[in-house]
């Protein structure tokens, strides 16, 4: 067949291709998801299109692995997401393959409604993918927080997740280790989250419909109780760090001493 004269039946014009909603066209915001959920962090909202977490699309959060050798990643997820989750008044928040057991007292303090929080354990990649797509398509799952299993997800697998998300209406978050940042991913929004001593740094490095967000990074304030106090830090260096005495002076929490009668 002459390459200059392609079969007219199979001819696909650029125009036709551009009609597709899932082709990212740089800065054009026409095809980027419209619905958004207020993230609860004013600075972060500024960085995001439509001023909030995009709904019905895959949001990927890359975090440095907190536990070496394991897949455990945990860099202030609840700090980042609790304000948004608290706004969801119906449906379930599902944790898929979470890195550890969600601790009820801590979550109650964070204002999460435990009656609408489900935990699903799926360690194998095949189970994880099947559960992810099932959950993303379910109407009652309004927020899904999923932690990538030990084996890295390929582009096709991520694409399956993204497609399932586009069929749902909720907030879909996938946590992955920082090492995959260089891989390409079909996610609508990709972030890097990194805890520092005084702040949680969020860097948006991909966002459909916006090109120049690559270098914006914002710092979210940590709760006061997490902050080291300078004097205390100094004390820690001078004396033995795990000394009860040194920490007692600056303790911001009450010493709760209880005995069972």
């Amino acid at each position: 067949m002459n390459p200059d004269k392609p079969n007219p039946n199979k001819l696909i014009t650029l125009e036709q291709l551009l009609q597709r909603g899932d082709i990212w066209r740089g800065q054009s915001q026409g095809f980027a998801p419209q619905a958004a959920l207020d993230s609860g962090h004013a600075e972060l909202n500024e960085c995001l299109l439509h001023k909030g977490w995009p709904l019905a699309s895959l949001v990927e959060i890359c975090q440095p692995a907190a536990l070496n050798g394991t897949n455990m990643v945990s860099q202030g997820e609840w700090l980042l997401l609790a304000p948004a989750l608290r706004q969801l008044k119906e449906g379930y928040t599902v944790l898929l393959n979470p890195p550890a057991l969600p601790f009820a007292p801590g979550l109650i303090q964070a204002g999460i409604d435990l009656d609408r929080l489900l935990v699903v354990a799926a360690e194998k990649k095949a189970d994880f993918l099947a559960s992810f797509t099932e959950l993303a398509r379910a109407d009652i799952c309004t927020a899904l927080m999923a932690w990538q299993p030990k084996h890295n997800l390929s582009y096709t697998e991520l694409r399956k997740c993204q497609l399932a998300c586009s069929e749902g209406k909720g907030l879909y978050l996938l946590f992955r280790p920082l090492s995959v940042r260089q891989q390409s991913s079909p996610a609508t929004l990709r972030l890097r989250a990194q805890l520092h001593l005084r702040s949680l740094e969020i860097q948006v490095f991909k966002q459909k419909g916006s090109l120049n967000s690559a270098n914006t990074s914002i710092h979210l304030a940590l709760p006061e109780t997490w902050l080291p106090i300078a004097a205390h830090a100094n004390l820690g260096q001078e004396q033995s760090p795990p000394s009860t005495h040194s920490t007692n002076n600056v303790s911001s929490i009450k010493r709760a001493k209880r005995k069972v009668p």
């Binding site: 907190a66 945990s74 860099q75 202030g76 997820e77 609790a82 119906e90 449906g91 379930y92 979470p98 550890a100 057991l101 969600p102 601790f103 009820a104 007292p105 801590g106 109650i108 303090q109 964070a110 409604d113 435990l114 009656d115 929080l117 489900l118 935990v119 699903v120 354990a121 799926a122 189970d127 099947a130 559960s131 099932e134 959950l135 379910a138 109407d139 009652i140 799952c141 990194q194 805890l195 520092h196 001593l197 109780t225 997490w226 080291p228 830090a233 760090p241 795990p242 009860t244 920490t247 007692n248 303790s251 911001s252 929490i253 010493r255 709760a256 001493k257 209880r258 005995k259 069972v260």
Partner: protein, 502 residues
Amino acid sequence: MKNRLWLALRLPDLPLVSFPVHPDEQAVCVLEKQRVIYANTAALGAGVDIGMDVTRARLLSDCITYQRDMQREQEYLEQLTAHLYTFTPYVHIRRSNIVPDSGLLLEISRCLKLFGGLKNLCGKIATAMADISTAYGLAHTEEGAWLLSYDNSPISGDENPADFIARLNHVPIARLADWRDEDEVEALKRTGFNTLGDISRQIETQSISSIKKRLGKDFADFITRLFGIEQNFQQTALFEKPVQTYQPKEFFFDTMQFDYPITQVEQLHTPLEQMLQQLGAFLRKRKLACQKVEWRLFDIYQNSHHLSVHCAIPQNTWKLFYDLTLIQLESQQLPFAVDAIELTCQHLQKWQEQNQSLDFSGRRSKNRGGNDLALLEGKLKARLGEQAIFKVSYKDSHIPEQTCEKLSAFTPVNQQLPQIHQHALRPTWLFENPLPAQYRQQTLSWRGTLQLLTGPERIEGYWWAAPKARDYYIAAREDGLRVWVYKDLVEGSWFVQGVFAG
């Protein structure tokens, strides 16, 4: 009431049906609460009595003893009922309160013609009851038939109510203990009534009202029912006790034979869907629901493969069962080329329509929530196993790891944090088994150096089992991660128990 004819089938050996058969000379006793409630002829011959202490019975007769199995007895009676349903629709179980004799009552007046007369019918019923010794009683009333079953009079086929009343007149008062309480029977005996005949003579001479005055309306009604005495009402039929109709237990069964053996799961999809649609129609028509269906796949050599599908909430539609079946089939290969397929659903229950509140705002998602969750949970459980999906709940305890418990998706959780814990710092992730941290050269480390930020919070308790005393701190690792560490004051070692993430 005149036309009715009751046949009582009393099974004196019913307690034995649950146990293996022994030769006649072997003494056998069945016990309930360490008392003999049944003894066979050999045991009775050796001097064992009903109600006797088990030790005494053993000493007397060297008998084999069994504990009574009420459930098995009930199952046996239900089985018999279903069998006798072929003769009459009016059949019900009678469980006796005091005597462990139970049995069945059949109203047979309306099927005499069909089975060629009373004698023929009784012969057929006797054949059906060949497995177990049965005492027959025939009378024009339910209670009368039961009492006459102790009498063992032969059935001639031309009895009439007068004969029954004549026979009932000989029944001793003590037999009434099965219906009436002991005090009442004692009172009757003291008054001088020894047989039912004495009572009927009293009624003949002084009418029923004297009995009513002396022994109460309840007893008078009972006697009226027993003898089938017609009362002076305008329309007697209105006051008759209606006869119960037996409802056979319903179940669903469907089978499908294929023209050619099926080797791929995909080819099974349509037949499965069709059969489940049949089940759905069956359930809807009868207002029933089920929680479990069973599949059996057969090949041409009659090898079978079994598959059972459960769901958490009773369903009366087929969709969830279809999805769950496919998930199960997806995870396994077909063991052979399938030639036939069977669907059974044994345990059906009444469909309880979910209460729906009147909602004019048009938002119905809350009402649908429960069933959608069941759908989702069922699908996930079919794939991941029973333990894979859960909720977390607060539980009151002093030891942190015991304050968090896993519950099933449908159990309401406890979110009431006591005052004392509301401001204590608690992590959002917990390690179910605390991980050891290293303390060397005055430095605490766990996959990186830790710096203590706040603390300590001392938690002590559980002294009655393994005493626990811990000092909890929040620590920051060099990469910024906040962890929850504690020093075990009993052992002196450090552990990381949780991670703060929000």
